[in-house]
Symmetry: C2
C-alpha cells in the first residue's frame, strides 16, 4: 500500500490536524472529529450539518464555511460517525432556528443521524429536519443501502441549500428546498481502479488491467457491470445515458458536475467533461453551470462520476450566491 | 494504461475542448493551443504569459484570469510549446505595456520562449521581459535543465506577479518583482509511483512496491535517491530539511504550498501538510499563508511536493489580492 500516511489507524486524526493547520477559517474538534466554521452563523438562521465516513474529501469538511455547511462530522474512513458525534455537532451549530441534517443514503449514516436528531431534540430541544440524498441511478439497492445511494448531488445540494439558509429562510423552507434539489439530481459513476482503504492495506476489489467498472459506488461497492476499457467518448455515453433515461433534463437549465474519484488527474477530467458536454448538447440538454474537479472522491480510486441537477431560476440564483469554503469558493 | 482518454495522440486537444466547455470565462484557441481570458485586460497594463508542456494541470491554463495570467500556451504532454505558439500568444495579450514571460527552467521551454520573444519584438514591436523559475532544491542540474528545475514557485509567482500587473505597474517593475519572488522560493518533491505519459503507454520509470523516490521532478526525472517507504512524518522531514538548508526562512512571513502530484487524494495531502507544519513550527518558520491541493501536477503520479516562499508585507498583500481563475480563486 503506497500512501502518504503515518499509520493506517491514524489517518483521520492526522489528516484533520493538517486540515486545521491549513485552514484557519475553520475549527476542528479533534475529539469529536467535527469541522466548524471559525465564525459561526448569525443567530436566528438555520444551520446545515452533514457528515459521514471519511475518504471522500473535500466532502464534507471542505464544504464548511459561508454559504454552505455550518459543520461536518467525520467518521473513520468509509465508516459512519457515531450518534454522539452528530448530536454534539447538532447542538453546537443550532442558533435557535433549527438544524438541517444532510445525509447520504447509506444505512449506517441514516440510522446514526436519525438517533442523533432524536437525542438533540430530547436533550437540548433542537429542531432537526433531515434530507436523505439518494441520487445514484446505477443500482436500486446496494451493499450498504436500501434504495439509491447518495453521491454527487450531495455537493450541489449543500451549496444550494446553504445559500438559502444564509438568506434566513426558516427550517421548513430550507428542508423543502433540500428535498426538491435531491429529487432533481441524478448521478452515475465509473472506476478504472479500486481504492485502497488504509486499514485494509489492499485494494477493496480486483479490477484487471484491461477492465473498468460501470456504476461503481463511492466505497467501491459493485456497480452495474464490468467491461473492457473503452475510449472516453464511450465512457461518457455509459454515464450520460442512464441518467437521461431516468429523468428528463430538457427544458430547464442544468447544473452538471464531472467529478473525479481522487486518483484521476485534471487533464483527464476535463477531457471527460468535453465528451459529456457533446452528448448533453446532442440530447437537447442545456448546461447552465458546469463544474469539473475532485468534489466527492473515493480515496485514491481512478475514475469519475457525472451528476446532473435539473435547476430553475431560483436554484441557479442560489448556486451563484457567494460561497467561501476550502472546497468551493466564489463570489466573495 | 488506464486513463480516461480517447487516443494517446488526442489527449491535449480533447482536454482543451473540455476545458473550454467547462469555463466560459476563458477562450481556447484550438489551433495554437492557447488559453486566453474571455475579457482581456485593460489597455496599458502589463500582460503575463506562461506555458509549457501539458500534464501539470491546473498549471498553466487553470491560472488564466483576473489577477493572474493573461494567457497560457500548452505544449503536448511534457513537451515545450513551439516558438510560433508562444509568439502568437505574446502578440495577442500585449496591450501596449509589454509582456512578461514566466518560464519554468527546462531547456526546451527556455529556448522556445526566448525565440518567441525575439520574434514578437522584431515582427510586432512587443516589449518582452522573461523570468525563468528555478526553485527545485533536489538537484543542481537535471535531465532537462541546466541549473535548478522550475516547479512549485511558478504557481505562487504567477499569483503574486499577476496581482502586481493588475495594479498597473510597468514592465520593469513587474519583471523585477518576478525575479525577487523566484529568488525567495524553494521546492522539493517526492513520488510514491511513476506517472504514465499517454503516448508512451507505460510508466515512465519503475518504482518497486516498497520504494519511493525523493527529489523527483515533475516529469518523472530522477531525484536525489530512492528508499524504502516511510511514514508521512519522515517524508515531511525529507522535504522540509533540504529546503531549510538552502535558504533561511525564519524572520519573515512564509507562503507554504503542499502540492499533490495528481494521483494522491486530498486526505493524504492534508495529512502531509500537518506533518510539514509541525516541522516548520519547530524550526521557527512562520507560515502566514498555507495552500494545500493539486496545483502543479505530474499526470497521475502519486506523491507530493513542498514549496516555501519567503514573503514580506508587499508580497503578502499581492497574494491576498483578488484572483478569479479556474485553479485559484478568492477575494472577488
Amino acid at each position: 500500500m503506497k500512501k502518504l500516511i503515518n499509520t493506517p489507524d491514524g489517518v483521520l486524526a492526522d489528516s484533520l490536524a493538517g486540515y486545521a493547520a491549513a485552514h484557519p477559517e475553520v475549527r476542528v474538534d479533534p475529539v469529536n472529529r467535527i469541522v466548524y466554521r471559525a465564525t459561526p452563523k448569525e443567530a436566528g438562521k438555520v444551520a446545515l450539518l452533514s457528515g459521514g465516513g471519511s475518504g471522500h474529501e473535500p466532502l464534507h469538511g471542505g464544504y464548511v464555511g459561508l454559504g454552505m455547511l455550518d459543520a461536518a462530522v467525520a467518521g473513520e474512513v468509509f465508516t459512519s460517525p457515531t450518534p454522539d458525534q452528530v448530536q454534539e455537532a447538532t447542538k453546537t451549530v443550532d442558533t435557535g432556528a433549527g438544524v438541517l441534517h444532510i445525509v447520504k443514503n447509506y444505512t449506517g449514516d441514516v440510522m446514526n443521524f436519525d438517533m442523533a436528531s432524536e437525542l438533540a431534540a430530547a436533550e437540548a430541544g433542537v429542531q432537526v429536519e433531515t434530507v436523505v440524498v439518494a441520487d445514484d441511478v446505477a443500482v436500486q439497492d446496494s451493499l450498504y443501502t436500501a434504495g439509491r445511494r447518495g453521491v454527487g448531488t450531495t455537493v450541489l445540494l449543500e451549496k444550494i441549500v446553504g445559500a438559502a439558509a444564509e438568506e434566513g429562510r426558516d427550517l421548513a423552507s430550507v428542508a423543502s428546498l433540500a428535498r426538491r434539489v435531491n429529487d432533481a439530481g441524478r448521478s452515475m459513476g465509473m472506476a478504472l481502479t479500486s481504492c485502497t482503504v488504509p486499514a485494509a492495506g489492499k485494494p477493496t476489489f480486483d479490477l484487471p488491467d484491461d477492465q473498468m467498472e460501470i456504476g461503481i459506488g463511492i466505497h467501491g461497492e459493485p456497480g452495474r457491470h464490468r467491461q473492457d476499457l473503452a475510449p472516453a467518448s464511450e465512457i461518457a455515453q455509459l454515464l450520460v445515458e442512464p441518467i437521461l433515461a431516468d429523468l428528463d433534463f430538457t427544458g430547464a437549465p442544468v447544473i452538471a458536475m464531472l467529478n473525479g474519484m481522487g486518483g484521476s488527474p485534471l487533464i483527464e477530467l476535463y477531457l471527460m467533461y468535453g465528451e459529456v458536454a457533446k452528448l448533453l448538447s446532442a440530447a437537447g440538454v442545456t448546461v447552465a453551470r458546469p463544474l469539473v474537479g475532485n468534489y466527492i472522491t473515493s480515496l485514491d480510486m481512478a475514475g469519475c462520476s457525472l451528476t446532473l441537477l435539473k435547476a430553475d431560476d431560483e436554484i441557479l440564483k442560489l448556486w451563484d450566491a457567494p460561497v467561501v469554503t476550502p472546497g468551493l469558493r466564489w463570489g466573495a
